[in-house]
């Protein structure tokens, strides 16, 4: 008997690592009598879940619920399994059922995650708030609610949620990172850099946090500092194409156009359909007076994203230097159509 308990405990741990942000699978109570079939299926379900055998886990949780319709934890775990299987509406109705059986904050939290996954941000926000109502120190609920506020552009209130999350979970690296990002969006670049640095103190292997520090520094005009931090991001995550593209841009800002091109090349090698990197490489080539190369890169960026207004703007600028006035004009007009305001200023001489 003792062995089973241990196994289950291990399974719960595994489940926790699978979904880092949610303790989604809850271990069963100790089993002490031979007639508990529902619990047996339930435990098998947990094992399957840990092994990522989700259809089998689903089957086991189905059986458990069939045997015992008021098995609240089985409803909850089945919801979590459906969530993993991207059956969000199914997950939501299972969490609904679990919540009729018990007001468990985890159920609200998980339902919030599922609602978010369906794009129902107001529903998700309401469920995170409900989670907090039941369990006021539920750090993750604050964190995710803050994330939605961030996405809605409500940076000030996002910062408040991230701050409470950090209060209850002082080593919450993600919350530091995201609070930093909210500050950055509010142009508090020093505050942003401070938070990103705290995130790194907690977890020094988060490539995106280094990238974010670097971008804040680039925004401040500290190109040297930015280049060094982008390099850290790349050190941590070798295939981090976003950081290569960004480091290339910082090198561009610093006037090192050849160095920039090397970085854009790497970004492209890592992600062959990365339109931004082509567009940016076009800019660096332009600075090196390689106007033909610049046009070719813009062509590629446009072929990857037909609605890429800035690539049209840039291609027009390069075409002007190639004495292709008609081509430049048609590109600037297209960029204007695509919402690039500055292109309008260039079309004055166009026929």
């Amino acid at each position: 008997m003792k062995k089973i308990v241990l196994t289950l405990f291990a399974a719960a741990l595994l489940a926790a690592t699978v979904n880092a942000q949610t303790d989604s699978i809850v271990k069963a109570k100790v089993l002490d009598d031979g007639s508990q079939d529902a619990e047996k299926f339930y435990n098998s379900g947990i094992q399957d879940f840990a092994a990522k055998n989700f259809p089998s886990a689903l089957n086991n949780f189905d059986q458990a619920i069939a045997k015992k319709p008021d098995f609240e934890r089985a409803w909850y775990n089945r919801g979590t399994t459906k969530f993993e299987m991207k059956n969000y509406s199914g997950a939501i109705s299972d969490f609904d059922k679990a919540l009729t059986l018990a007001q468990n904050p985890d159920s609200y939290f998980s339902r919030a995650q599922a609602k978010y996954a369906t794009g129902d941000k107001p529903g998700a926000t309401a469920d995170y708030s409900k989670t907090i109502e039941i369990k006021s120190d539920y750090a993750q609920a604050y964190y995710y609610r803050g994330g939605i506020k961030f996405e809605n552009g409500d940076y000030k209130n996002a910062i408040d949620d991230f701050t409470i999350a950090i209060t209850y979970k002082p080593d919450y690296a993600y919350a530091y990172n995201d609070r930093g990002s909210a500050k950055r969006q509010m142009d508090d670049l020093d505050g942003a850099i401070g938070d990103y640095n705290k995130a790194i103190v907690v977890n020094s292997e988060m490539a995106f946090a280094y990238n974010n520090i670097a971008s804040a520094k680039r925004k401040k005009g500290d190109f040297k500092g930015a280049i060094s931090d982008y390099s850290e991001a790349i050190r941590v995550q070798k295939d981090y194409y976003v950081a290569y593209n960004n480091r290339g841009s910082a090198k561009y800002d610093a006037g090192d156009y050849a160095g920039a091109i090397e970085d854009f090349n790497k970004a492209i090698a890592l992600k062959a359909d990365y339109a931004f990197a082509y567009n940016n490489r076009a800019s660096a080539k332009f600075k090196l007076k390689d106007y033909k190369g610049s046009v070719e890169d813009c062509n590629k960026a446009i072929s990857l994203n037909a609605g890429y207004g800035y690539a049209y703007l840039n291609r027009g600028i390069a075409k002007e230097m190639l004495r292709d006035d008609a081509g430049a004009c048609s590109d600037w007009k297209k960029a204007t159509e695509l919402g690039v305001e500055s292109a309008k200023n260039y079309t004055g001489d166009c026929k």
């Binding site: 942000q21 964190y143 995710y144 994330g147 961030f150 996405e151 690296a173 993600y174 990172n177 995201d178 990002s181 950055r184 969006q185 995130a199 988060m206 995106f208 946090a209 990238n211 974010n212 971008s215 976003v242 593209n245 960004n246 841009s249 561009y252 931004f276 567009n279 940016n280 076009a282 800019s283 332009f286 600075k287 800035y310 703007l313 840039n314 600028i317 002007e320 004495r323 690039v340 305001e341 500055s342 292109a343 200023n345 260039y346 004055g348 001489d349």
Partner: protein, 694 residues
């Protein structure tokens, strides 16, 4: 370090040093063309001395022969490259040729062979380095030249030396911020292997005149003073963006002597000519149909016994800006003056443009832009980077002052002379002449395309702002707006014809400032082509009347605010005979909003109408008012009727018999354009007149 090692290093240093000294002295040995030096090659020496002699003869005749001295000198140089004087002279010859920078190695070598070879050596080297934009080296040579001068010589030359040094310092600054331009050769239709220069263009870049010294010059003569062919004037027109092969303008424009064009009027119908007689004088010629009139000598207010070298017309044709080196009223050297036509149409006493434009140094090549206020000119003063540089200055009509001249910048300007620069009405293109080894030979005409400030490329980036999200967030970028400066004027051009026969007509085009109620300028269309072109600088409400005897006048209105961008408007006008039933729209009659009160801006048009009725006393006309479709029909009819009556009342007040005039208000009944757009409605709100009998 051990003592032996130190000794070794010291010895090595000394040996190296000696080797350098030795090689230097070997290099620096001046080798004269003597038998002692060339014992083994007497024939070669004889030949070389002969070449030196040939070169020297040309050299001694002055700088116009320098370029011919180069070949014999080079032959001698091949035989003996180490003669200081030969190197010096060869360098000097190159400095006065098209290949000025080739002078540098020869002058440098002359200096290393014998620094005392000629007292001018430092000065010439300074000039050569200056032209090569080796600013610091040039300054150093000019300073060395100065230290060798004493007494009167120093007093006399010091201002020039300081000027050179100042220009080098200017150049150092200007090349740091080059202007973005394309500079293109105007092509083989314009340029030849001979000297082509002094281009002038009509405002719309459809006509170019320029001067060239070609063997086919009228009379075929050579001017001994410049050792080159006499100048002739050439003309080219542009079709579909391409210049057609230039033609010699022939007589009576070109004569057996120097004929050099100067300014061309904006419409290309008149131009100014420089002729070398009387110390250099200015003439005018006009296009009558398809032939140019015999050049007419400008009056004594313009031409003096001094050198009047170039001129241009203001866009209204009422003023000329011209250059003279006359001492009277001058601020030093050549200055730019303006003369305006008096009431009788004669060029009045000129006025110096003043110290903002003219300096103690030379000014040349004035060109007033078709916008009527931007003056392009060349000056050796201001912050020139060497020789003449091109500047621009804008006249403020309110304060009656010129703005501080602005250097057009490198690479339009160079350390050499940059002069006779003209700019298209659009402000997009400039034309001038310069020498480039890749050209068609000698000086060629080049077109400059101004690109304006660099258009910034826009980079796009994204970051993983939210740790829980895998999708990166795109950074919002706003591309900075670069304002492209445009010339602020409207070019109105077209062809005037007879409505019935479709034949081109020579008609008068009168431009009126409606607010000031004054005629700004009067032009004629060309009798053989009917073409006309007028330049309308921004900031005025223009009334334009096209008139010809026995025709009804045609009127246009152009309200061009100060903020208007450059535009070219093509307006072909078909004039109607004075015939029963003919009607015209009076575009320059304005009423107060929603009222029948004539605005003062209408005066000129009303006077024109009065004159027509006086000229043809039998004419009976109907004046009709029209509105757009906005507002109630009754109201519109009433308004248009009272407006027509207001015009009739005006005419009666000017002495026109009331029984010759009928007024009618049609309201919105007779639209001539859609009432769905602002433009259409504006066209529909109008006053017309119609001939009832004549």
């Amino acid at each position: 370090m051990r003592l032996e090692t130190l000794y070794y290093i010291t010895m090595k240093k000394i040996i190296t040093l000696l080797a350098i000294l030795f090689s230097f002295s070997a290099f620096a040995q001046n080798v004269e063309f003597t038998k002692d030096n060339f014992k083994d090659d007497k024939d070669g020496l004889k030949e070389a001395k002969k070449n030196v002699e040939t070169g020297d003869k040309l050299f001694e005749q002055g700088n116009i022969f320098y370029k011919q001295a180069i070949d014999p000198y080079l032959l001698a140089y091949k035989f003996n490259p180490n003669n200081a004087l030969l190197n010096y002279r060869l360098g000097k010859c190159y400095l006065y040729s098209n290949y000025k920078l080739k002078s540098i190695p020869y002058l440098e070598k002359a200096q290393s062979l014998n620094p005392q070879v000629d007292p001018q050596l430092h000065y010439l080297l300074g000039e050569a380095y200056h032209l090569d934009m080796q600013w610091d080296k040039a300054i150093s040579e000019f300073k060395k030249f100065q230290t060798e001068l004493k007494g009167d010589e120093l007093t006399e030359l010091l201002p020039d030396i300081n000027h050179h040094i100042e220009q080098c310092l200017n150049g150092k600054e200007l090349v740091k911020k080059p202007v973005r331009v394309f500079i293109d050769n105007a092509g083989p239709e314009i340029n030849s292997q001979y000297t082509d220069y002094g281009p002038v263009i009509s405002a719309d870049e459809s006509i170019m005149l320029f001067t060239s010294r070609r063997p086919t010059t009228t009379g075929g003569g050579t001017d001994p003073n410049i050792n080159d062919y006499y100048e002739d004037i050439y003309i080219s027109t542009r079709k579909d963006g391409k210049w057609l092969p230039a033609k010699n303008m022939g007589p009576p424009i070109n004569t057996d002597t120097h004929d050099a064009n100067s300014g061309l009027s904006a419409d290309g119908q008149k131009f100014l000519i420089y002729i070398g007689s009387n110390g250099g004088d200015l003439f005018e010629s006009e296009l009558k149909g398809d032939s140019w009139s015999k050049p007419d000598h400008m009056n004594k207010n313009i031409n003096t016994k001094y050198h009047e070298s170039s001129a241009c017309y203001s866009p209204d044709g009422k003023s000329v800006y011209f250059v003279s080196d006359k001492p009277d009223g001058s601020l030093g050297d050549r200055d730019i003056y303006i003369s305006t036509k008096d009431a009788k149409g004669r060029w009045d006493v000129p006025v110096n443009l003043g110290p903002t434009i003219n300096t103690q140094w030379g000014e040349e090549g004035a060109f007033i832009h078709p916008d009527g206020k931007t003056l392009y000119f060349s000056s050796q003063g201001h912050n020139s980077m060497g020789g003449y540089d091109i500047f621009k200055s804008v006249y403020d009509d309110k304060t009656k002052t010129w703005s501080e001249p602005e250097n057009l910048g490198y690479p339009v300007n160079t350390p050499d002379d940059d002069v006779f620069f003209v700019v298209s009405a659009s402000g997009k293109h400039g034309y001038y002449a310069s020498f480039n080894a890749n050209g068609y030979g000698e000086k060629d005409i080049y077109q400059v395309t101004f690109l304006g400030p660099e258009k910034p490329m826009v980079l796009n980036n994204e970051d993983n702002l939210l740790a829980s999200q895998t999708a990166p967030v795109k950074e919002t970028v706003i591309a900075p707006v670069i304002q492209i400066k445009e010339a602020q004027l409207t070019i109105l051009k077209g062809v005037i014809t007879d409505e019935a026969t479709k034949q081109p007509l020579e008609a008068t085009i009168e431009i009126v400032d409606n607010l000031k109620n004054e005629v700004i300028a009067t032009f004629m269309s060309n009798s053989s082509t009917g073409k006309y072109l007028v330049s309308l600088p921004a900031g005025r409400n223009y009334g334009i009347a096209v008139k010809k005897e026995n025709y009804l006048f045609h009127s246009e209105n152009f309200d061009i605010p100060n903020t208007a961008a450059y535009q070219e408007v093509v307006k072909d006008v078909a004039l109607k005979n004075i015939a029963v039933g003919s009607k015209i729209i009076l575009k320059n009659i304005f009423f107060d909003f929603d009222k029948a009160t004539l605005r003062p801006e209408s005066t000129n048009e009303l006077e024109r109408l009065t004159k027509l009725l006086n000229d043809v006393p039998t004419l009976k006309i109907e004046i009709s008012g029209h509105t757009d479709s906005k507002g109630a029909d009754d109201y519109n009819k009433k308004l248009s009727d009272s407006r027509a009556k207001a015009v009739v009342a005006y005419l009666v007040s000017k002495g026109i018999a009331a029984d010759r005039l009928t007024s009618v208000g049609y309201g919105e009944e007779q639209p001539i354009a859609t009432n769905d757009t602002d433009e259409g409605r504006q066209l529909n709100r109008r006053t017309e007149f119609k001939i009832l009998s004549k």
